[in-house]
Subunit: 380 residues, 2 copies
């Protein structure tokens, strides 16, 4: 009579579906989802949170959502909230408060749904609200940017920023469904179109040389905003991210975060530029830096390094930034990166194109030389 | 190229250990736990949050914790925070803020530990802080009351109150370990000693007639504060709760909450009395009411009903309260109970002593008669 062991498993499963014009009245995807998923006897409710940029660019969106939900039995539309997108919605907790207030006022319960439509930032915040209200409301993600459709919007994490620190509060809670709607890509500005592609470069570099070669071949078409190659890029990148989550350590209990290749610098640069630099733009610089560093410590050849820099440049990324001059401040990013995750410092580098390699030490002199090399070769 | 399925399982496991004087310098339990659990290469940190009542009653506790952690390799004590216990710590979010601030200031990361020492309320709040900071810090529960050692402190839920609603915010995140220290029971006042026993009555009623009979036999000893029967009560009750969590629906995705027998009224009474009524005291009244109701709708015999009321009375519970006169307000508790969980209204009643039964409708006339019966037979 001195010990009781508790042990159980929770299975998580959800689909990431690809479509065009999700809320078109005769698109059956969403209606089919609810027919299968909403098996409560009761009338379920759904609360929508829409990124204000998306709402502006798609002025029929709200009307289409209202019309669509008129046609679905067993589920009724509660409110539609329009909130700013971008990091602001994660920085200022009054937006989280607005979502929680809507949950309370609309009587959204644990068998109801909260759907977020927008970029990665608003989906992170909405996912967090859904995870903590009533200990978890069913959450649907409808990412609208390249970045969120191929990476940030399709995973199992959510968060807000707190104490001025990125993702200080958050949870690991999978959504019940993700819908990637290609229609939203058509209205992206060039920066958002481009910046999401850096995560595809990243995942190709650490996992899939064939995908890297494809990216290099198709870089010009991608830059010229051809839709077919972009749809393939998003699908392939989402698939690689998704497989990684399932096969590894989905809730990140260990120290490794191979998917964060190039990200220690990116997170720091985003903060130092007050998020003037987009996440994907910062990641492109982070990838360039850690590839140069990988070459300089003898892990990859100069040819490999140059191919990586060539691809990033062809896709239209700037590989430098005035903030790169603040080297000591940047290197603090390594400590913050470790602190957020805990445990040992673990940074992913490359041992070849297509193969990531974890290291637990960074030579700061070589890292500073690598930063200088970016500053010299890619003057801002 | 139109669908990707995500599917993975997460295994959760932790031990509930029973001991006496956990922080006694030669008690190896905690040191052994860290030797086994803390396999990071790094020096881990631990942050303690202690219920101010416990801290007052055990004035050597902080010194003992400091001395104990001097002896454990690989782990260092960060801060010790003293916060009020009871519902206040869940009602006012500045206490949550204090824990998060300590996490930030002390550099507590995802491989560090947060330990809560106190009753169910403070453990709920501390568990919530641990669940959301850095997307989840390792969390150790050290419950100090009968109620928290046998029920609220050993499970997988955490929460705070928000919008004036109990447990409006929270998550399902299991702790990494629970330590039930019998030493803390010795300093409980009579109300806290008694009130935790109602959860044992509850779980016996819905799951285990033999345990119910044991409770009836030992009611006098339990009321007289004999330690051996209380230790058995806590162990047995913790085991039944624990088995239920593992075998059922640990994160409560369905509509059923059989463990909440007697709780719809209890939650409402706690609020209406501004938590002057302890949770366990309210649960005793809730059990009495739902047992009377179970009899009146023909589910259990009068003998069974009377045995239940006899046990609760023998243990020293009051089975009435002036707030029982506010019948319409009380019945709102049924709606709120459903809303928190979502889906169909699901209330557990009894079909016999030892067997719970879920129903989806409540006859409000019969429920009101049952409330009147309590008011008449147990004048406050």
């Amino acid at each position: 009579m001195n010990i009781i062991n508790q042990k159980f498993e929770i299975e998580y499963t959800f689909d990431i579906q690809f479509t065009n014009d999700l809320f078109k009245i005769d698109n059956p995807l969403l209606a089919d989802f609810f027919r299968y998923h909403n098996t409560s006897n009761d009338q379920a409710k759904i609360l929508f949170i829409i990124d204000s940029n998306v709402n502006k660019l798609h002025d029929q969106l709200q009307a289409k959502i209202r019309a669509y939900f008129e046609t679905i039995p067993g589920i009724s539309l509660a409110s539609i909230l329009i909130l700013p997108g971008g990091e602001e919605v994660k920085n200022n907790s009054r937006y989280l408060e607005q979502v929680l207030t809507a949950v309370n006022n609309d009587g959204i319960d644990r068998h109801s749904y909260i759907a977020g439509i927008g970029g990665g930032a608003i989906l992170d915040m909405v996912g967090y609200a859904a995870a903590i209200a009533h200990r978890g409301i069913r959450h649907i993600r409808i990412p609208t940017t390249v970045l969120s459709q191929n990476d940030s919007g399709i995973g199992v994490k959510n968060s807000i920023n707190y104490f001025g620190k990125k993702n200080f509060l958050g949870t690991f809670v999978p959504p019940v469904a993700v819908f990637n709607d290609a229609l939203f890509l058509t209205t992206l500005n060039d920066r958002d179109w481009r910046s999401g592609m850096s995560e595809a470069v990243k995942v190709a570099l650490i996992k899939d040389k064939i995908f890297f070669d494809w990216l290099l071949e198709n870089a010009d078409s991608l830059r010229k905003r051809e839709s077919k190659p972009m749809e393939y890029l998003i699908f392939k990148c989402a698939q690689l991210h998704n497989d990684h989550i399932a096969s590894g350590d989905p809730f990140e209990s260990g120290s490794a975060r191979p998917l964060d290749f190039g990200h220690w610098l990116a997170h720091k640069l985003e903060y130092l530029t007050h998020f003037q630099l987009r996440h994907g733009e910062a990641v492109a610089i982070g990838i360039a830096l850690d590839s140069i560093y990988s070459h300089r410590i003898g892990l990859i050849s100069e040819t490999d390094q140059d191919q990586i820099l060539e691809l990033l440049t062809k896709l239209g990324f700037s590989l430098s930034h005035p903030q790169l001059n603040q080297q000591d401040k940047l290197l603090e990013g390594l400590i913050e990166f470790k602190e957020h995750l805990g445990g040992q410092l673990t940074i992913t580098l490359l041992s070849a194109i297509g193969i990531g390699l974890e290291v637990h030490e960074i030579n700061t002199d070589v890292m500073k030389e690598s930063i200088n090399s970016l500053l010299q070769n890619y003057p801002d």
